[in-house]
Symmetry: C2
Subunit: 119 residues, 2 copies
DNA sequence: CTATCAGCTGAAGTCGGCTTTAAGTCAAGT
DNA sequence: ACTTGACTTAAAGCCGACTTCAGCTGATAG
């Protein structure tokens, strides 16, 4: 797949994909002889993974470390720990969201009553 | 309460509190004769509210608008809509978090198996 | 009396995460 | 031949949300 197709598929610009590869957020993408990126299954999976993680707010730094360990095919323990660490962060964030949404619910309800009475 | 006490209480710097007031993220804080901020119940509630919203990622812009409507004691309908809008954004984010955490769970499990076999 | 905390404005600095620009080259498809 | 879309690096630009600084004054506590 060309970078254009991948960018279409995942709804992100080609620039972003190149940027991700450049900073090591995804491993180097295989190329055709002419140097043009030829995303295979593997690369697409990485893109999907990174997109998912980033959308949830996982830090780029952590992902870069993870990806680099994957390439060196080393640090399984460390890799697992990175994932656990990030999961904990996301769980914390989910909890924060939960309480905030509750708070909003409460306030919205209040406005609903207010608007009913007004009439 | 002085700004120092409030900053202590909510674990945010005095600078940030002043910044919040300056940009209208919290309504003007009452002052003593000498001009020193004297946070009352009301002001503290605002701080708590904004802190909560911000920690969940509600945009400053939306909060500023909300706060300004509160002060003018107007736009109840609009106020409610702001809250509903932001709630929807947070719910979307919560959903994103949920799927990402699931994905991490899956990967972590995989590492666990791997580490077991290794031994 | 001095240290500490408070106040002010306004601007500059920082950081993360892109996004764009410059200034090209290269190759496949019509 | 021409268009399209790919490629390169390095640097600059942008945005949001703080954070800090500069350069003061003024009040309170020990």
């Amino acid at each position: 797949m060309t970078i254009g197709e991948v960018s279409e598929k995942f709804q992100m610009t080609a620039d972003t994909l190149r940027y991700y590869e450049r900073i090591g957020l995804i491993p180097p993408v295989p190329r055709k002889k002419n140097g043009i990126r030829d995303f295979d299954e593997q690369s697409c999976k990485w893109v999907a993974f990174v997109k998912c993680m980033r959308s949830a707010g996982v830090q780029i730094e952590a992902l870069i470390e993870y990806v680099s360990l994957m390439q060196k095919d080393t640090g399984i323990e460390r890799r697992k720990n990175i994932l656990i660490e990030q999961r904990a962060r996301l769980q914390q964030q989910a909890e924060t969201l939960r309480t905030t949404i509750e708070r909003l619910d409460y306030k919205i309800e209040h406005y609903e009553e207010l608007l009913l009475k007004k009439h």
